[in-house]
């Protein structure tokens, strides 16, 4: 008999709605589990223990009164620290927002609350979502539950680690260049980056507005589809949010992929992947074939340019978006400044961490007079090229598969002093971000050190349904179970 914290999102919601278990019992099980694993993993910046108890009790009262509390009834979840929840601290992992309290709730979070979910805590992240290891948080290091000496990935490292560790069955992050998919891959869980415009960004702190998307992280594909179903759809508060109808993801998810054309990029050179990733990649292709898919070769000649395009466009947008942090309206204000201009300089220099400064500098450079055309203009031009190449690929393929990351989780500290090496781990995740395609990262096995690897499946814009269906078929074929070992300092006896 599994513990309540081990149940899937679907099982929890079904059992809570059927009053087989109470939302409070589920929450207590997750809080107990959190108390055991959190000292090792440090996924949270804050756990809303009392408030979560009140909310779960309220759900139970409403169920007793015969009300329908929604498709996520009693499901505890973690929110990345850049998603607004009215009355709660919101820091984006940055000192510059220390003390900031969200004055309203993000649309996506409103929809989760309306669906009966129970926010359990605020999860750690790389500062302003800039990073691939969660090491850029100004507050704490989060560790990968599979091996506590490795990073959980980033920037949504806290949300991914919380789900992998069993603290919650569901979490939400944001993905700008891979920030949901890459940590999901490194933590052995499922991560979804929806189509650009699928989910409202109202209440999400902006990083790069042309690619930012909110999406779920869960232990299986069905749960992640259910979660996206709840938050997707138009929002009058976000003019960039799309009006395209939201599909019935669970309605078709188990239909299998017989005859589905899965595009494989000619440019992926297995020799350039780590040995284990290359072996796992070949095995994943065999599994897709075994599930009935037809593999077709497609081409993305600009693949190798993706990281360069991304680090021009995202940093340019970030340099503009982060101009608002100036010590005037909110956030950190320097005590040492003695005129207004000085206040901007000092507040920003004291408040931002090194990686955020690096990216603001890079973006400012790319947009500066004399360099704009050579950098920003050029990156936009190559991006359009990439968009056309992918559009052509999707004329023959229904979905396109790649490894999610070139390697499994790396060691804590390994890439901290080499920003470019850190950026290069985004090679497979950045194209879908730049072009705005829906993408799911699904666990695909373990490497020689027992660390998770992952397959990424991208689809046509707003065709999340097909991406989920392919991911679900692959998941079944791979038979991966989320069971991190908490290796290196954690004893199994302490986990139970």
């Amino acid at each position: 008999m599994p513990e309540l914290w081990e149940l899937s999102v679907e099982e929890i919601a079904t059992r809570v709605r059927g009053r087989e278990v109470s939302a409070s019992e589920v929450l207590e099980s997750c809080l107990d589990r959190t108390a055991k694993v959190e000292p090792l993993v440090a996924a949270y910046l804050e756990v809303f223990e009392d408030e979560a108890r009140d909310r779960a009790a309220e759900i139970d009262r409403r169920l007793v009164a015969g009300e329908d509390v929604g498709p996520l009834a009693g499901v505890p979840l973690a929110l990345k620290d850049n998603l607004s929840l009215d009355g709660h601290a919101l820091t984006c992992g940055s000192r510059i927002l220390a003390g900031y309290v969200a004055p309203y709730t993000a649309t996506a979070v409103e929809r989760l609350l309306a669906a009966g979910a129970v926010p359990l805590g605020r999860a750690n992240m790389d500062e302003f979502a800039m990073g691939s290891s969660c090491e850029n948080s100004a507050y704490q290091l989060t560790r990968n539950p599979w091996d506590l000496g490795t990073v959980p990935g980033g920037s949504s490292g806290g949300p991914a680690a919380a789900v992998a560790a069993g603290s919650v069955p569901l979490s939400f992050g944001s993905d700008t260049g891979g920030s949901i998919r890459q940590p999901a891959a490194m933590c052995g869980v499922v991560g979804v980056k929806p189509t650009y415009g699928r989910v409202s960004r109202y209440g999400l702190v902006a990083f790069a507005s042309s690619t930012d998307q909110i999406g779920p992280i869960a232990r299986n594909v069905r749960d992640s589809a259910l979660a996206l179903q709840v938050i997707a759809g138009a929002d009058p508060n976000d003019a960039t949010c799309a009006t395209e109808p939201v599909g019935d993801y669970l309605g078709t998810i188990d239909e299998g992929i017989a005859g589905l054309k899965v595009g494989i990029l000619r440019e992926i050179d297995p020799a350039a992947l780590s040995g284990a990733t290359a072996r796992n990649w070949r095995q994943s292709l065999d599994r897709l074939t075994a599930a009935g898919a037809e593999l077709v070769e497609v081409s993305l000649p600009s693949l190798d340019a993706a990281v360069a395009i991304y680090y021009v466009i995202a940093t340019s947008e970030a340099s503009a978006n982060l101009a608002r942090f100036d010590g005037v309206r909110y956030g950190h204000r320097s005590e040492t400044a003695d005129n207004l201009l000085d206040l901007y300089f000092e507040s920003r220099s004291e408040g931002f961490g090194a990686e955020v400064k690096r990216r603001i500098m890079l973006g400012t450079f790319a947009l500066s007079s004399g360099y704009y055309e050579a950098y920003y203009g050029r990156a936009r031009g190559v991006l359009e090229r990439m968009r056309r190449e992918l559009a052509t690929a999707f004329e023959t393929a229904d979905v396109v598969a790649t490894p999610t990351t070139p390697t499994a989780a790396f060691r804590l500290g390994e890439k901290v002093d080499d920003p470019l090496a850190m950026y290069l781990s985004d090679v497979f995740t950045t194209p879908a971000s730049l072009v705005g395609l829906p993408t799911v990262a699904v666990p695909s096995g373990l490497d020689d050190d027992g660390l998770p690897l992952s397959l990424q499946i991208m689809g046509r814009p707003f065709d999340e349904a097909t991406v989920f269906r392919a991911s679900r078929a692959f998941e079944r074929e791979a038979g991966f179970a989320v069971a991190p070992a908490f290796r290196s300092t954690f004893r199994e006896s302490e986990a139970d």
């Binding site: 929002d235 309206r329 956030g331 005129n339 220099s349 500098m361 450079f365 050029r378 359009e384």
Partner: protein
């Protein structure tokens, strides 16, 4: 391209950031390496941008309530009589 510490200082001024000499030197090295990597974009073919992809809500242009002033000001580092309080434009030292 080579980025000098002088370049870094100029970009930092545009970005409203200030660095110590040690930070300037470190950033110059790191940014130069990243910019060198980005320079590969010059070897790729480009295409013209084709804006507009998905449908968006069209809304009536009618006023609606926004965040109440006191809720907004609750996060302000300093305020007075319902307004944000800032330092003088021409205060003590130069910037």
């Amino acid at each position: 391209m080579a980025l000098t510490t002088e370049d870094v200082r100029k970009i930092a001024t545009l970005a409203r950031l200030r660095f110590t000499p040690e930070e300037e030197a470190r950033f110059a090295g790191q940014l130069a390496k990243i910019v060198d990597y980005i320079d590969q974009l010059q070897t790729y073919e480009v295409a013209e941008a084709n804006p507009g992809s998905h449908g968006v809500l069209e809304m009536e242009d009618v006023p609606h309530d926004c965040l109440p002033r006191e809720r907004f000001l609750a996060n302000a580092p300093a305020s007075l009589d319902g307004f944000l309080l800032v330092l003088e434009v021409k205060g003590g030292g130069d910037a």
